[in-house]
């Protein structure tokens, strides 16, 4: 049975008509698939059929150790959106609920090869001169989290120093404890700088610059 409803599939087809360049969706699962691994893979494969500009590659978390390492994937299901290079855009857990929108818009951004950000934000992001790892913890029902995820992914596209993960945390309960997640969205920058709630673009960039301030 198809995972995506016909109505959504039609909407996506229309959106994907505007895809400009090739997008690789790189998915990590394993032989004995967890329920959400399977749901994620099947959904991505369905997306792959909606545009010739999209290819879906499925890797095994255990067997394809080399690729797992190259994409620095540490848990599954994992999904990377890749254009002419790997921008560091990752989804851990199933991109369901509103995060499905983050996935579709991420694909569109990657196909354009540039994120939709204002010049002011791009200027600030150009100041980032060291590795930054952003994790946005979300729940599948959170209606506002996608705005944080979208920005984190756009930032990853804009700066080669930034990598950004969406983490659907109810699938990884140990991370709830590790990062003390008590509300959604929760943003963690470089492991130890936390931002609860939904920041504006400017607040988000400022927090990144603060996190790497010498």
């Amino acid at each position: 049975m198809a995972i995506l409803e016909d109505k959504i599939r039609e909407q996506i087809k229309t959106l994907f008509e505007a895809l400009q360049n090739q997008v690789r969706i790189v998915n990590f699962t394993q032989e004995f698939e967890c329920a959400f691994c399977r749901m994620t893979r099947e959904m991505l494969e369905e997306l792959g059929h909606l545009s010739e500009k999209i290819t879906v590659e499925v890797y095994d978390f255990v067997r394809d150790a080399e690729t797992v390492k190259r994409y620095a994937v540490d848990k599954i299901p994992a999904t990377a959106l890749v254009g002419e290079k790997d921008y560091g855009i990752r989804f851990y857990g199933v991109p369901a609920g509103y995060e499905f929108t983050s996935l579709i818009e991420g694909i569109i951004d990657v196909s354009r090869r540039k994120p939709n950000l204002s010049q002011d934000i791009l200027t600030e992001l150009a100041k980032v001169d060291r590795p930054v790892h952003i994790q946005v913890f979300v729940s599948p029902t959170c209606p506002y989290c996608m705005f944080a995820v979208r920005n984190a992914h756009r930032f990853a596209m804009a700066s080669s120093f930034i990598t950004a993960d969406m983490v659907e945390v109810t699938e990884f309960p140990h991370l709830v404890v590790k990062y003390n997640v008590q509300s959604f969205p929760k943003i963690v920058i470089n492991e130890n700088h936390a931002l609860p709630g939904l920041p504006t673009d400017t607040e988000f960039v400022r927090a990144i610059l603060n996190a790497i301030a010498r």
Binding site: I12, M43, P196
Partner: protein
């Protein structure tokens, strides 16, 4: 885990008909909830030159899962309802600025200018102000400090975190009961605390939660303090009759005590009441000619989707009448 399907909400972050700073619009609609969307449909059908600016589409409806009291739908998934509203608005191909927060609205020579957070400015002959409301805070010690550390205002966002845990819900109306229902799905132990006597939620919501075994009802109690260092550890409440204080150990506090109108951007422009709501008459007019308001941001008492939608329609028709009567078209 409950997976809410795959939701496509691309309009909320991007739209292809951007606004033009050099155009003088007939009507500028501010907000993206049911009031604003209904206003847009009525204004668009009058073939007026309108523009629409909002942070997101759907407003507070985004925070609920099912809507069971909108005419024509016995029960509809909240996102599907937003989607229908959105498609209806989009069919008119209006200039829409999404993701844009209005910081202030000014009036100059009878024209209105809305200044956005990012400095952009849009000008119009009339404004329909429908920015809705946000969650009210308790204003007790510990609350601000523990926001995001166990103190929460969005049950649909955070309820999944409190599976099998103990939680206090503060409030006695529909939102508090909805939060309790969200939490009951994760088998949480719930203490519902209301500072008023009894419970104000719709009877049907009250009935839905009454059978849940792990809920305790505590009315006539007020929250004195939220306890905890790095995270919520408990809440101290005081009995309003006995004056007795007790501290209850909980992992989280869901605060659902009503709304604060999003009227800050216009507080220096129009008359507000003591609660900060924009004062409107039955035609959605404010004390400033040409400035109309609708929905939860106004003094209209019943904060509901159908009421907001009706008010939005009225505001659009009133704005049209104003433009005609003052020969501004």
């Amino acid at each position: 885990m409950h997976v809410p399907g795959f939701i496509l909400d691309t309009v909320s972050s991007e739209h292809s008909y951007p606004l033009d700073q050099n155009v003088l619009y007939d009507i500028l609609i501010l907000g993206g909830g049911p009031a604003a969307m209904s206003a847009a449909i009525y204004a668009a059908r009058k073939m007026l030159n309108i523009a629409f600016v909002t942070v997101d589409f759907g407003g507070q409806i985004r925070e609920t899962s099912e809507v069971e009291n909108y005419l024509g739908f016995q029960s509809i998934n909240a996102h599907d309802l937003i989607e229908r509203f959105q498609q209806h608005v989009k069919s008119f191909r209006l200039p829409i600025g999404v993701g844009a927060r209005v910081e202030a609205v000014f009036r100059n020579d009878g024209l209105f200018t809305a200044v956005m957070e990012d400095g952009l400015r849009y000008t119009a002959k009339t404004v329909i102000y429908a920015t809705g409301a946000r969650h009210r805070q308790l204003a007790v010690p510990g609350e601000k400090e523990l926001i995001g550390r166990g103190v929460t205002y969005c049950s649909i966002c955070d309820a999944p975190l409190y599976k099998d845990r103990k939680v206090m819900v503060v409030g006695g109306g529909n939102s508090a009961f909805t939060a309790a229902l969200d939490l009951s799905r994760g088998n949480a132990t719930i203490i519902l605390v209301n500072n008023a006597r009894g419970w104000q939620a719709d009877a049907i919501l009250q009935r839905q939660i009454r059978d849940y075994k792990k809920i305790e009802f505590l009315d006539l109690h007020e929250v004195v303090r939220i306890e905890g260092g790095d995270r919520v550890e408990g809440v101290t409440v005081r009995g309003r009759v006995t004056g007795e204080e007790k501290t209850v150990a909980v992992d989280g506090v869901f605060i659902e005590i009503g709304l604060l109108p999003n009227s800050d951007p216009v507080k220096n422009l129009v008359e507000l009441n003591e609660r900060g709501e924009v004062v409107v008459d039955c035609l959605c007019r404010t004390n400033i000619p040409g400035f109309f308001a609708a929905g939860d941001v106004t003094t209209i008492p019943h904060k509901q989707i159908i009421v907001a939608a009706g008010e939005g329609a009225k505001a659009a028709l009133s704005a049209h009448d104003y433009l005609v009567q003052t020969s501004r078209l």
